[in-house]
């Protein structure tokens, strides 16, 4: 729930597509100012991220000089939601916005079957490497410079998003007139595969191709997906021409050009649902350039077990949603007709049913994001306009309650602050050295939670003690007027078998005194003050608190005490060992206190 602009998350960042403004306006058939278009995006739930041009982008990346002569055509960079694969190209975006603005009806996509359909034979060996393949054909396509570019870019976007950088899904598009079906989807030992990859002049074997592309700035990221597999997936035509080596590269032979008329699309994947989504996105977005727009020719897949199915299916699913449900969930009171009209504007063709009590909604193959009625309800709300919905306040009456440990922590924080100590706030993650070596301890003896994939030593473990953070804070403030009196009340994490996850948080209280002399009496009296606040008397025998002399590696010999409350050990107090001081780059003595406050809740 943490919003994107506040905390960037790579994975949550919405995909961005670049569209020429003039082309976009022309296609929509309406002129918008930048601001008007921005408003439209806001209303629809996409974002006009940047108004730029090739020249501006080049200037930004490589400097003004390089940008000289580049195109100044205005480009809109538009962010779209991560689950809307139908908006990943200009064609899809234009279509969706036109329908939203009521300037066209959503197209109906039709699957045609040729008398002699193209066939893809799936071989058993593909099972362990990349088990799914689907395919489709676009007939009599007219490519232009711009829609050709858009076609290539959409494939790249699909590879990056739903394809998870080709690991889950990858696709290849081919000039069908250069190849001949039936096709075979097989997996073979790398050395047996030999073909001329896209834009190469010589035939290369599987291993040679991997060598070549592991140096390629763009393709090297995909090489590890199959490099070490015993068999590589490969698609052949009837004459043994290699169409592609998924997910790395297509063959040069069947590459599409501006003059290509008939396009054969193959999609291979480890997830069939995602493969179908990708195939559907490609064929629905670009079938508008076919001689017969929105018609897609299907391909027959012959599976290993002898079964066969055709693809793409371009299924239209029907959902019936109760009107009362829609009105109730959103908080509006629209008629069935009005709601059906709203949904139709969202490319969800809808009609009134059950005598006006329900809406029948047709979910097109372009909308795989609609998986539940709630998705339909959201679309109704978007079409209605989020900001037109009347704000109300739920009638939910509840009595507030604080979490006991947090309430106690706050009370102690105020008490310690009033005693003249300054609160610090330090990180929960730190290095192994911080909690072990630097405190004269051994990491193997510490029940710390270890992070498996830290990007730096700062994030190796979750802290088991507050001391390192307090000492590091002193180190970066040692030029301040002395003494420094600091404290922190925060969680540490310890491994434990009591909890299902195997680890537990512990609320600790840490305090340090840094000055010319250790002034242990200051920390000692702080401990007493804390006990006073908690109504725990000093009592050498029986109920109350007591400090017993102890020997702990982090403390100066003979200057360390263990703090017991009602006979239970809750922490230590004392003067830190000089080796600890130098490990944290401190040049004066520190007296310190650290106790667990969970027992006081």
């Amino acid at each position: 729930f943490v919003s994107y602009s506040q905390v960037r998350r790579k994975f949550a960042t919405m995909p961005t597509i670049a569209v020429e403004r003039d082309h976009l306006m022309q296609s929509i058939g309406k002129d918008f100012t930048d601001q008007e278009f921005d408003e439209l995006c806001f209303e629809f739930g996409i974002e006009l991220d940047e108004v730029t041009s090739e020249k501006k982008m080049l200037a930004k990346e490589q400097g003004e000089d390089k940008a000289k002569g580049a195109s100044e055509t205005v480009i809109y960079k538009i962010e779209v939601p991560a689950n809307r694969y139908d908006l990943l190209c200009a064609e899809g975006l234009v279509r969706t916005l036109k329908v939203f603005l009521g300037r066209m009806e959503a197209p109906h996509y039709v699957v045609t079957k040729s008398k002699t359909p193209q066939i893809v034979h799936v071989k058993p060996a593909t099972k362990d490497v990349r088990r799914f393949v689907v395919a489709g054909i676009l007939r009599n396509v007219t490519f232009s410079q711009s829609n050709y570019k858009s076609f290539i870019e959409l494939q790249e976007k699909l590879h990056q998003t739903i394809g998870r950088r080709r690991a889950i899904v990858s696709m290849g598009t081919h000039d069908l007139d250069t190849i001949e079906g039936p096709f075979t989807y097989d997996a073979q030992p790398p050395s047996q595969i030999k073909f001329k990859p896209l834009k190469q002049h010589t035939e290369l074997s599987g291993p040679e191709i991997m060598d070549l592309y592991s140096q390629d700035s763009h393709l090297r990221q995909y090489v590890p997906i199959i490099q070490d597999k015993p068999l590589y997936p490969v698609i052949y035509d009837r004459n043994g021409v290699v169409l592609s080596l998924p997910p790395i590269i297509n063959g040069n032979h069947s590459q599409i050009t501006l003059n290509t008329k008939n396009v054969f699309i193959e999609v291979t994947a480890t997830d069939l649902n995602k493969a179908n989504i990708v195939l559907n996105s490609l064929v629905t977005s670009f079938s508008e350039y076919c001689e017969e727009p929105y018609y897609v020719e299907c391909v027959e897949i012959l599976e290993v077990d002898g079964s066969s199915h055709i693809c793409p299916e371009l299924n239209y699913r029907h959902e019936t949603v109760q009107l009362s449900e829609i009105n109730m969930r959103i908080g509006i009171g629209e008629s069935a007709e009005s709601v059906a009209a709203l949904l139709t504007r969202m490319c969800l063709k809808s009609s009134v049913t059950e005598e006006g009590r329900a809406i029948k909604v047709e979910v097109p193959p372009t909308r795989p994001d609609i998986i539940h009625c709630c998705d339909i309800i959201e679309d109704a709300a978007i079409a209605y306009g989020f900001n037109k919905i009347k704000m109300t306040f739920p009638n939910t009456t509840t009595i507030a309650k604080q979490l006991a440990i947090n309430k106690l922590s706050d009370q102690l924080r105020n008490g310690i602050c009033a005693a003249g100590f300054t609160e610090v706030f330090t990180f929960a993650l730190c290095s192994r050295d911080d909690i072990a070596n630097k405190l004269r301890g051994n990491i193997d003896d510490i029940p710390a939670v270890h992070i498996g994939n830290p990007k730096s030593t700062e994030f190796q473990v979750v802290r088991t003690t507050l001391l390192p953070g307090l000492l590091k804070t002193i180190a970066s403030n040692k030029n301040r007027p002395l003494p420094l009196k600091l404290f922190e009340i925060s969680d540490v994490v310890l491994k434990t078998s009591d909890k299902a996850v195997g680890a537990t948080n512990r609320r600790h209280l840490g305090a340090v005194f840094y000055g010319k002399t250790p002034c242990f009496e200051v920390i000692h009296s702080l401990l007493h003050r804390i006990m006073q606040l908690l109504q725990i008397p000093f009592n050498r025998n029986g109920a109350g608190y007591v400090i017993k002399s102890a020997d702990r590696p982090a403390f100066f010999p003979g200057r360390c005490g263990e703090v017991y409350v009602d006979g239970r050990l809750i922490g230590n107090v004392g003067v830190l060992h000089p080796d600890v001081l130098s490990a944290f780059e401190l040049n004066m003595a520190v007296s310190a206190l650290e106790i667990c406050v969970e027992t006081f809740v």
């Binding site: 507030a400 003249g420 609320r507």
Partner: protein
């Protein structure tokens, strides 16, 4: 040391004050502070200090501020008085018999200007063909250093008798400079008294008891001084804002969730929230996975089966699910929670297990962790603020009203909502507020209605809706206190001056 110095100064001021009063008393009508300082050999500033202290006594003296201009030697001028003019110093350095190498002479301070002056005065000559390089020879046996003499006279007796041309030349050579001297003309005031009355600094217990304060005169206070810094403890700025936001939730009747569990299973962090196992968020590039303890051993078996079904095909929720094979081992992987919504999931599950549904309002403010690139506004750990309301028939309009109520308590009134995408909420809305400073709408939070695929497996009734919203704690704190770099706010590198001078948090 400071105190001792102040005491010495005070005694000195008193001494001079007494001298001034005595002088005025002995029939001197007006005292010119500058002349007085010269005559008595005191520093002029000290004399002025004494005059001001007398002024503080009331009408003892009358003052009139005046000024005059005066020529003073510059540093260079003073050096000439001390060591001779540049030309004389060059002349004196030349060997009377054999002359000296020009190169050696040029090493003297200000040799270039001294040499050219001495040449044009006809004191020196040059032999360019001498052996070992150009030699400088004396053309006169001795010289009179008029420049030094004139400057010396000027510094001792003033400008009288010095030609205007000469002054101009000295000024051009930056040997003298014109200064403005501010001074006071001091006369007797109506309450003049030669006896200096000693002012009391403090009201003592004796004065209070004896009543002697009535006859004493007290030194006035300097209200421009800021006083002695208060020695005290300070709370951390981020925690102050946390306290306020916590207070807002409490005022709105929200119950605090137990978020004190940084280590979480993928199950509660992702799967229970209907986040598919192939979602990019579950990539090791974005999330900190735990190598020890690596897995969660116990998960609620029955619930886990329902979650598996809902991911795979929607189960009985009316959803078609994500259509993939859900794997238990993936769900057992431990991680540092990426959001506190993992705890919300646990709480809602618990609620679903209760005998009868009851409406709840929950909140939390606690740490979350992200394994991503760090910069001036992003750290690997930060705080998430989260609010959750579960009740029957809650609407999207209710969510908007709730957000409005929450944010207006933070002082944010103008809100606008944008459709957004979030794997576990539908509808989802980004919350924008109008920023008066930036004159534009800025995103301040994220919100939504939890998906039925998430709620129904938890055994919550069908008509129960759960609305929720979230934002970070650090960002509003940085904006509130004008902090650009997050490391200046949190962590061990924080500057204590910021902490010490930080105001209370008033949202």
């Amino acid at each position: 040391q400071h105190v001792v110095l102040i005491l010495i100064m005070a005694t000195k001021t008193e001494e001079i004050s007494q001298k001034i009063l005595s002088a005025l008393d002995s029939n001197k009508e007006t005292i010119h502070s500058y002349t007085f300082a010269q005559e008595t050999g005191e520093d002029h500033q000290l004399v002025i200090g004494a005059i001001k202290s007398l002024q503080c006594l009331g009408n003892v003296i009358q003052l009139e501020q005046n000024q005059f201009e005066k020529w003073e030697l510059t540093e260079e001028g003073a050096e000439i008085v001390d060591k001779g003019s540049h030309e004389a110093r060059v002349f004196n350095a030349v060997d009377a018999e054999k002359g000296s190498l020009q190169a050696d002479l040029m090493k003297l301070p200000n040799a270039k200007i001294g040499f050219s002056k001495a040449m044009s005065a006809g004191w020196l000559g040059v032999d360019k063909n001498a052996e070992g390089g150009t030699r400088v020879l004396r053309k006169v046996p001795s010289v009179v250093d008029l420049v030094q003499q004139t400057l010396k006279g000027l510094s001792e007796k003033g400008v009288d008798g010095i030609a205007e041309e000469q002054l101009k030349d000295f000024k051009k050579r930056k040997l003298i400079t014109n200064v403005v001297i501010k001074y006071y003309d001091v006369r007797k005031g109506p309450e003049f008294s030669v006896q200096l009355c000693k002012l009391e600094t403090d009201l003592t217990p004796e004065m209070v008891q004896s009543g002697s304060w009535e006859t004493k005169r007290f030194k006035p206070y300097n209200f421009d001084a800021l006083g002695v810094p208060v020695v005290c403890g300070h709370l951390h700025p981020l925690m102050k804002v946390r306290t306020e936001i916590r207070q807002i939730f409490l005022e709105m009747g929200f119950t605090e969730m137990p978020t004190n569990n940084f280590i979480e299973s993928s199950f509660w962090n992702f799967d229970a929230l209907f986040q598919p196992q192939q979602h990019p968020a579950r990539d090791c590039h974005d999330t900190f996975f735990i190598s020890d303890p690596m897995c969660t051993l116990h998960l609620p078996e029955d619930y886990m089966k329902l979650v598996k079904r809902v991911h795979e095909n929607g189960g009985d929720t009316g959803s078609i699910g994500y259509q993939y094979d859900w794997k238990e081992e993936e769900a057992r992987k431990n991680l540092l929670r990426t959001h506190t919504t993992a705890v919300s999931a646990r709480m809602l599950y618990k609620l679903g297990q209760e005998k009868e549904f009851r409406p709840v309002k929950y909140f939390s403010i606690d740490r979350v962790f992200r394994n991503e690139a760090l910069d001036a506004t992003h750290l690997a750990e930060f705080h998430q603020i989260e609010g959750v309301v579960a009740d029957r028939n809650i609407t999207l309009g209710d969510l908007m009203g709730m957000l409005h109520g929450f944010f207006s308590k933070m002082g944010i009134k103008k809100l606008r909502f944008k459709p957004a995408y979030n794997p576990y909420t539908e509808p989802s809305m980004e919350v924008f507020s109008y920023h008066e400073g930036l004159k534009k709408w800025v995103e301040i939070g994220n919100s939504g209605v939890f998906r039925p695929e998430l709620l129904l497996p938890m055994n919550l009734p069908k008509d129960v809706s759960v609305i929720a919203w979230g934002l970070s704690l650090e960002r509003p704190t940085m904006i509130k206190y004008g902090i650009d770099n997050i490391r200046d706010l949190v962590g061990h590198k924080v500057d204590f001056e910021m902490v010490y001078s930080n105001p209370i948090c008033r949202l």
